[in-house]
Amino acid sequence: MNWIAVGLKQDLPLGVVIPSRIEDTELAIWRSASGEVRAWSDRCPHRGMRLSHGFVRGNALSCIYHGWQYSENGSCAYIPAHPKLTPPDTICVPTYDCAETDGVIWAALQKPLGAPPAVSSRRPVRSMPVARSARAIAAYFNAPQSTFLEIGSDFDVALALQPCTAAHCVVHALAARGADRKAVSRWLEALRSDLEESAP
């Protein structure tokens, strides 16, 4: 697996953290005050709390349970219960490669090969959960191995697939720059009905 779309820039403002996932790997995706996007394991090493429930202060992500603060490289910088303690380097959150290009947030669980897919002149429209696997959707478009589908249609649609479970995925849709967003959205809803109704 390589670069996978995990969200859209428009849904992740400054100082916000959201949950996401690639298959069984649960992710906390967050944007620091200075605008950098990170993709981390969604689990605080201290007591296993989901970091996607946490909060961003400045350029650090804090766990909501005990306020442990992690700096941008994933290492623990501050433990509020022990303000004078310098946390050991061994306390850190697993981090993943993350990139943001043309309004799409990408993450890679393994070392990525090259740059994220080129979205060319398209722009993001919306993310849409679908009750089919990413593999099934790719097969529906005769591109069984792909997670980035250039569909065409009137709006020059491209779909970035985010595999979640054997029965679910999230589709991040892009369309031609001038395309009517509502029309694209209706096209996507119709596609979702087709996909879900064609489920075995």
Binding site: H46, H66, P80, P83, L85
Partner: protein, 278 residues
């Protein structure tokens, strides 16, 4: 299921809430409970009667042969206390995670913000923890923490002193500075009914000195606190409590939790525990 799990007492209902027979779960098995001619009873799925006792406002039972009587809380019997049946909350987490969270103070400023804690008062000073060998219980004493509103009866922030006691694997008792009566302890308990290894029913119970608040006010204060805890408990990964070191990282503030996990391991109580790193 093992004797290490079966031979303990578990809360299964508020005595005041028992009328018509009803089903519930205990340790992954269905049980039925009810009351006939004033006496409460519990039966297993096959209809066999289980041993019962009524104490601290709750009905207790055991699927095995408890090797000792239900623990006591002598302080709760002193006159002038108001006994508060808080009710129950079902939580999708290990019963052991629910107990461990109850033993934790470092989360107060972040989870119970402006009630049980508030930044910048986040530091947890060293306190004493021991496994009391004579009674086989976990005890933490000299626990101190600054609290903006320690209880319904508190007006303004105070440094509260706590003592924690784990008298049974799924039960914890907190002795806490009593705002209207310095020198006395308020008693707040967490009785946890293990429905399954990853699902529990939590029955908080309190014995407080508080002549000002209504019963409803005391109940809703405690329910507010526990609802805040639930948002944590249902989002810890894994749902079971890891007993082996390596999967989670404790600090000095977590000494009670470390002792609790060590004690569970010592007595062989692994229901709701994760033994190997996933």
């Amino acid at each position: 299921m093992t004797a290490a799990t079966d031979n303990h007492w578990y809360p299964v209902a508020m005595v005041s809430g028992i009328d018509a027979p009803r089903e519930t779960w205990l340790l992954g098995k269905k049980i039925t409970l009810g009351r006939d001619n004033g006496a409460c009873w519990v039966r297993d799925a096959a209809g066999n009667p289980l041993t019962v006792t009524e104490r601290f406002g709750h009905l207790w039972t055991s699927p095995g042969q408890p090797n000792r009587a239900l623990f006591t809380i002598p302080e709760a019997d002193t006159p002038g206390r108001r006994l508060v049946d808080v009710g129950s909350v079902r939580v999708k987490c290990s019963p052991l995670r629910a107990v461990e969270n109850f033993l934790d103070i470092a989360h107060f400023p972040f989870v119970h913000t402006d009630i049980l804690g508030a930044e910048p008062h986040t530091e947890v000073d060293r306190y004493d923890v021991r496994i009391a060998e004579d009674v086989d219980e976990v005890w933490a004493t000299k626990v101190k923490f600054f609290q903006p509103q320690a209880a319904k009866s508190a007006s303004g922030g105070i440094t509260t002193e706590y003592m924690y006691r784990v008298p049974a694997p799924t039960c914890a008792v907190l002795y806490k500075t009593c705002p209207p009566r310095p020198g006395e302890w308020d008693i707040i308990t967490l009785f946890v009914q293990p429905l399954t290894e990853e699902w529990c029913e939590v029955w908080p119970w309190m014995a407080l000195y508080d002549d000002a608040s209504t019963m409803a006010e005391m109940v809703s204060f405690q329910q507010l606190i526990f609802m805040q805890d639930r948002s944590i408990l249902e989002n810890q990964i894994p749902r079971k409590l890891p007993l082996d070191p390596g999967m989670e990282v404790p600090t000095q503030a977590d000494m009670t939790s470390v002792a609790y996990r060590r004690w569970l391991k010592k007595i062989g109580y692994t229901y709701g525990a994760q033994l190997v790193a996933a």
